[in-house]
Symmetry: C2
Subunit: 167 residues, 2 copies
Amino acid sequence: MELQLVNERRRGPYAAKRLTEFAARCRRGGLAVTPQRLAIIEALLGSGEHPRADAIFAAVRMQHPHISLATVHRTLDTLCDIGEARKVTTLHDSARYDGNITPHHHVVCVKCRRIRDIEIPRLDRLLAGQSELGEFTVLGSSLEIHALCEDCGAKRAGANRTMKARR
Amino acid sequence: MELQLVNERRRGPYAAKRLTEFAARCRRGGLAVTPQRLAIIEALLGSGEHPRADAIFAAVRMQHPHISLATVHRTLDTLCDIGEARKVTTLHDSARYDGNITPHHHVVCVKCRRIRDIEIPRLDRLLAGQSELGEFTVLGSSLEIHALCEDCGAKRAGANRTMKARR
DNA sequence: TAACCAGATGATAGTAATTATCATCTAGGT
DNA sequence: ACCTAGATGATAATTACTATCATCTGGTTA
Ligand SMILES: [Mn+2]
Ligand SMILES: [Mn+2]
Ligand SMILES: [Zn+2]
Ligand SMILES: [Zn+2]
């Protein structure tokens, strides 16, 4: 079996380990260890759902009734910045459309969000014939390669044309 | 070379062919062939940028100064429905976070948006060592497998718990 | 331990993308 | 030419998120 659903049982021990290291990692990142941050990372590590900010908010609220939704948004963002969490939906800020309906994949510049088509025949071969994945029925797939484009990568950070700044 | 940027030159002929077939495909999908739809698919096929709705709007406006932005949104959505376009940003509607920072990939139920972790060692091996891709500097990657989960796939369409309906 | 302050938080206003509503229009069939 | 289901344009509403700013606090220092 080449593609494999990750076993849910693994999460418990993994979360426990991450949690014990969390305070140290915060300080390493120059961040204060606040009760809110602890509660948020704990809720995130305790979920296998890849939750949205509002779900984390709901979970954390039970222990911290005064927490603000803005804090949850900010904290999740911060956790991603220091590498303690990851945003699954890299390009979530606005819809991007493609007129090319032949099967293909994409490189995305993480700074300016430029997207270009790529072909990976060996990947397509690898996935062809995979019609079941645990309890899921496979319909298709798409690989997103995160990268820096020429314009964004070559220059020193600072003077770059960043699309993220536009929000 | 295993990963390959798709040559821009290919787009011209591809777009031309798609455009000539468009009216027929619309009718097959039960859609009226309106000047707005023609202009929108033409703009989309003419772009290699994976544009956002507002970019298409700007392009189309030059020929159709009266077109509404809502029409552009609706039409792009419709084009995706009939398979004439594709939304690159499948999960763009809201940010989803992951506490699992070990490298892994995801299956996404296209109906209820459930996301589960998967491991594809052979894919990771395939991509390892690929640090350049044309003018892009590779940072990482993530495969998204589109699927139907047990709950959404087994049932007849209709009584399914769809998350998309929540918007 | 107390005093300090950079950075964190909560409350709330603002923004931007998308969707809903609805009166009017038109593609395509008769 | 006429009819009508469906498409469009104008605009209001929604939603996820970000900005602002007064207040608070973790963690360092004296
Ligand atoms: Mn593409
Ligand atoms: Mn994951
Ligand atoms: Zn770039
Ligand atoms: Zn589902």
